[in-house]
Symmetry: C2
């Protein structure tokens, strides 16, 4: 019995964590519930029910299916659904009209052939990357609506009235979702993307700031490791960049949704979201190199301490200055202002690089050795 208790406690813990990580999730849940309850009023209120009849169910269906977490996601699905329903419905009615002139035998054959053809073509169209990214849902709804109208038109008499009712209830459902998600604590995909890019930059920056100290002090004071907890804490901090390595998918979906959003806050309507993606690619490239750097923190290499000391100072400076420059960039991105002191950091960094070069010229550098060893270690761990 106590076991059940601890299990329940664990689940409650996880729920609380999920809610604490992003309280907007709780708000979103209530927003969906609100929209859904609102459209179900169509059923409960007599005059509305008399107007729409059973078609009111489509408003419920629309709300459940198109309400997404971000404003952009909801708009994307809502607009796709609206346009697809309208055009496919029109086409379906047209097909029905033509079919009705083909006689009792020809009608079902013609309709079935049309459904087959359009289904095959639209399914294939969904494989185009550009379509898949932005209009996938629309094409899906297009096939759906067309088949439904074409097929049911064969049996149902008042097909035009039915189609009208259905279109109207879908518009009601879609509009409800859009209004709720736009005006009730909106979650902007664009803002999230903006913050994600800045956060990723900051993660890399704090790695770079910490790396120089960590790496060179690790070897200098290898024995004096009294503050173990503190250093562990620091190492955790250094691992923040790992999430940057795999941020591509979330950046791209946010940028897609952001494309649909109207202007809000500091962002105008046609904000250059694509540039965020480009920056994201550069940040990830930087993170790959940092991943390679990070390998050195954990390996025990015996270093000629004389040489090591000679390069330590410029290297630490380089690392911390580039970290500072990145941090400055990130905060200026956050505030959407031109960075002011970055050039100073870069100059410092460049000075450190030339210092390093001087230090190197005194020794004989071996450029490709250690870098060669890493992949074989990785390969070894793979086998």
């Amino acid at each position: 019995f106590g076991k059940i208790g601890t299990n329940v406690g664990k689940v409650v813990d996880r729920i609380m964590n999920l809610a604490r990580d992003d309280p907007r999730r709780v708000i979103h849940s209530f927003k969906v519930a609100l929209a859904l309850t609102f459209v179900s009023l169509i059923y409960y209120i007599r005059p509305l029910y008399d107007g729409f009849g059973v078609a009111g169910i489509w408003a419920v269906l629309t709300v459940v299916v198109i309400f997404e977490f971000t404003v952009g996601g909801t708009l994307c699905k809502g607009i796709n659904r609206g346009i697809a329903t309208f055009s496919a419905g029109g086409l379906g009615l047209g097909a029905n009209y033509i079919a009705s002139h083909l006689g009792k035998e020809g009608e079902p054959v013609f309709l079935a052939f049309l459904v087959f053809l359009l289904a095959a073509v639209s399914t294939f169209i969904r494989f185009f990357p550009h379509i898949k990214r932005r209009y996938d849902y629309g094409v899906l709804i297009f096939i759906l609506t067309f088949s439904m109208v074409a097929v049911s038109g064969y049996r149902v008499e008042k097909i035009i009235e039915l189609a009208n009712q259905r279109l109207f209830t879908i518009i009601i459902g879609g509009a409800t979702c859009m209004v709720v998600s736009l005006f009730l604590c909106p979650v902007w995909a664009g803002e999230d993307l903006h913050k994600l890019i800045a956060l990723n930059m900051e993660k890399l920056a704090s790695f770079l700031e910490g790396f120089g100290d960590e790496y060179f002090k690790l070897h200098e004071e290898e024995s004096s490791r009294d503050d173990d907890a503190c250093s562990k804490n620091k190492l955790l901090f250094l691992h923040g960049y790992k999430s940057v390595l795999n941020s591509k998918a979330s950046e791209e979906s946010l940028a897609n949704f952001a494309w649909w959003e109207p202007g809000h806050g500091k962002f105008k309507f046609s904000h250059p979201w694509k540039l965020y993606l480009k920056t994201g690619v550069l940040i990830r490239q930087c993170a790959y190199h940092i991943e390679a750097l990070n390998g050195y923190l954990n390996t025990d290499v015996q270093v000629q301490s004389e040489f090591h000391k000679r390069i330590a100072e410029p290297c630490m400076k380089m690392s911390s200055e580039s970290g500072k420059a990145l941090k400055e960039l990130a905060s200026s991105l956050r505030a959407m202002k031109r960075p002011s002191t970055v050039s100073t950091h870069i100059k410092n960094c460049e000075a450190a690089i030339s210092d390093l070069r001087v230090a190197l010229e005194a020794s004989s550098p071996d450029r490709a050795d250690i870098v060669e060893i890493i992949p074989s270690i990785a390969v070894g761990s793979l086998l």
Copy 2:
């Protein structure tokens, strides 16, 4: 007019490319069309229509919505939809039964409250990563069905008969999809995952095999660049690994779908798909290091040629041997046999490493210098 012609030509080209890249896409389009035409027969054949009535439309809807490219995807959505519809429908009927005892005033209030509560809870549940990965669609359909049954139960008299018809047509639609996708040229997500992992390994292997030659010859025969076209071709080959860096999302979705698939071909039912993901992580880590290595191919570093020559031989050997080992691993993974000659390659590789160490001990190695420079170059390019 000629412009339109070239535009049409371009579109046709893109269609042909899309079809040629993966002919299964064309087959998939026809499979969807076939399933859709099949279920629309319910409408065209009189006795079937008499049995199901307008609920037949739900079979059409089900086919369009759950038919996915891979068998695993279709099964995942189909099973989710079936279970969710059944359980939510049952709960909805129960709620209706209770509500009908609450009187004219209490009934809509009780139902609206239940819809609100369940919608909020289910929407929140969808944020759990585990649920999102595997049962997202099921939860969505659960809210949908529950709201629809609860809401329409308030007006429609023969709710149980309607629910029965609907459930039955959804089962017909789902079964059609599953049968078509299982037995008509099935596309297995598991097989795709298996091939993707092997292909990624091969990409890394061909990079490693080519890298040693490319890097060391680049510097040795810098002037004798007569075969420019050939070297460009080679460089393209070396860039194959880039796609490995971002393969995480597709690997994970394939593994999710593969989890739903029954045994097929060489794969048993509970094939350890998770191990593929782990291998994928290791492969990506290897790719990150290769990305760092790749930086050296394009930079013009002045190398002390005496030292460079000394390390060239063991490095080239290491790189090509680890490449060979990876290739061997990949092909044994493809054939699902134990690798046989890999250990020889690894031994060769280890021998090369110790050769390198000997070569290094003659010089004073500087471990962290070049690796330090890379991130600042990356940062520089960022700014």
